[in-house]
């Protein structure tokens, strides 16, 4: 059987933190070639799901597979999966170049590729500057450069446009679409449907850890007056965390 390539596959994925059921029997598959929007109100379990896929948290039950394997079993994972979870997660005293090179080295990636990625995200001019002085938008770009280092077929971005100015939002949107057009698998989370409408082709909606809907944007727009209406109707029962997502 050929190895599934560029596929994220969740099988009854469940994660409990004490009494909180953060992810509840979640099953869905993300396929290559388009942007899959991962949508849900704050606290729906999107970030937790991504940490489970990356093996950062251990599932209480179920499994998350990338290209048919557990992430932790990948020998050089950066060549298969790239992820941006939290743009602020970097040592402020390190230069952008060294930050990336620290990661690159672990997967046998050299400094040439680091420079290339800094160029690609528009940070070549500040490569030697400490990241502590970077704006949120610059940190997002650096995080995206890190995700792209190994030229992976699967990419996951957790709310990458949060807090960005319109230029930054536009840049990320275009990047996502071009990465998908190259045949990669893109899982992009957001709590805003308006964002998804412009970027995603497929949409997975979660609420309170459970799968609510898994459809194409086209299917949703035929069933509801607008995507916004679809989102509100589908997640109406899931807003118990007091987070309306606005």
């Amino acid at each position: 059987m050929p190895q599934p390539n560029g596929v994220i596959d969740l099988q009854h994925l469940t994660k409990r933190y004490g009494r909180t059921l953060a992810v509840d029997d979640l099953s869905f598959t993300v396929l290559p070639g388009h942007v899959t929007g991962f949508l849900g109100p704050n606290g729906a379990g999107k970030s937790t799901t991504m940490r489970l896929v990356l093996g950062l948290d251990a599932p209480s039950s179920g499994a998350a597979l990338v290209n048919g394997k557990r992430y932790a079993s990948l020998p050089r994972p950066m060549h298969e999966v790239g992820a941006l979870l939290d743009a602020g997660a970097m040592h402020g005293g390190r230069s952008a170049f060294n930050h990336l090179l620290c990661l690159a080295r672990t997967n046998g990636i050299g400094p040439g590729r680091v420079s290339e990625m800094l160029e690609r995200v528009g940070l070549a001019g500040v490569a030697q500057k400490h990241v502590g002085g970077f704006s949120l938008g610059m940190k997002q770009r650096l995080g995206i450069a890190a995700a792209l280092l190994g030229d992976p077929g699967v990419l996951m971005f957790d709310e990458p446009v949060n807090g960005l100015d319109p230029d930054g939002v536009r840049w990320i949107r275009d990047l996502m679409r071009s990465l998908a057009a190259e045949g990669r698998t893109i899982l992009l989370s957001s709590h805003l449907m308006s964002e998804m409408a412009l970027t995603a082709d497929h949409i997975v909606i979660v609420g309170r850890g459970k799968l609510i809907a898994e459809e194409t944007v086209q299917e949703l727009t035929t069933r509801y007056p607008s995507l916004e209406d679809a989102y509100l109707a589908l997640t109406a029962g899931s807003l118990e965390y007091g987070a309306s997502g606005s």
Partner: protein, 258 residues
């Protein structure tokens, strides 16, 4: 191998590492200053006072500086990743996790070994040159006789550094880990020294400060600690100080959600 290169870059690309190594090396200057003061005092003493003049081995006095600094280097090597959240990115790159701890330990251990040796030996030679035959010939003992003890003293510095890496990985906060580390250098030995016998000698024999003397069966210096352990046992205790927290920290790192 690639993880080792990464950990080496992580350490050398942040300022706190340069600072802790520099302050450690400042221990040599401290030794120089103390030796100079001691010489000055000795030379101004009356002939009657001179035979009774005592001085502690200054390389053992200044040893605390690299011990603490390299301990902090070890602590920060792990806890700074938790503080910034960078640990998640690190472990995404190396999902097996234990190589990250192994790489950190090697890098921090080697830096501490070089730094500790530099401080101990440089301080020793500075003192030997300055103090010469003063203080009852304290620094006239042949170097080859002192070499085992000086080596054992230098080795306590990487032990502190690895203790720091281990504690940092267990506690995941810099403040908590540094408190435990400082407690291990300063507080516990004082408490142990004030316990009733036989506890003072029994526990005093397993304090880190006692081990170099026990390992080398050194008789050239007086120690404030107990000295009940045979060399092999003392060496085993020294290794345990480094490895036990490291293994516990690695085990936890491999099991915990981050």
């Amino acid at each position: 191998m690639s993880v080792l290169a990464s950990e080496w870059l992580k350490i050398r690309s942040v300022r706190s590492s340069h600072l802790t190594v520099s302050i450690s090396l400042g221990g040599i200057l401290l030794g120089l200053g103390l030796a100079w003061m001691a010489v000055d005092m000795y030379d101004h003493a009356t002939p009657a006072q001179k035979p009774g003049a005592r001085l502690a081995e200054l390389e053992e006095v200044v040893l605390m500086v690299p011990q603490l600094c390299m301990g902090v280097l070890g602590v920060l090597a792990t806890t700074s990743e938790y503080a910034t959240g960078f640990i998640r990115t690190s472990l995404t790159a190396v999902p097996k996790r234990w190589p990250v701890m192994a790489g950190k330990s090697v890098v921090v251990g080697v830096i501490a070994l070089f730094t500790g040796s530099a401080v101990i030996f440089a301080t020793y030679f500075v003192c030997r040159a300055l103090i010469a035959d003063r203080f009852g010939g304290l620094y006239q003992i042949p170097f080859t006789d002192k070499l085992p003890l000086l080596t054992a003293l230098a080795l306590t510095v990487p032990v502190f550094a690895l203790l720091g890496v281990g504690l940092g990985s267990i506690l995941r906060t810099a403040s908590g880990s540094i408190v435990v580390l400082v407690g291990a250098v300063y507080v516990v030995p004082i408490i142990v020294g004030n316990l009733p016998q036989p506890w003072s000698d029994l526990l005093g024999s397993v304090m880190i400060g006692a081990l170099p003397h026990e390992i080398t069966r050194d008789t050239t210096t007086n120690t404030v600690y107990g000295s009940l352990l045979p060399p092999v046992a003392a060496a085993a205790v020294l290794v345990t100080y480094a490895l036990l927290p490291l293994l516990a920290g690695t085990w936890l790192l491999c099991r915990r959600d981050v």
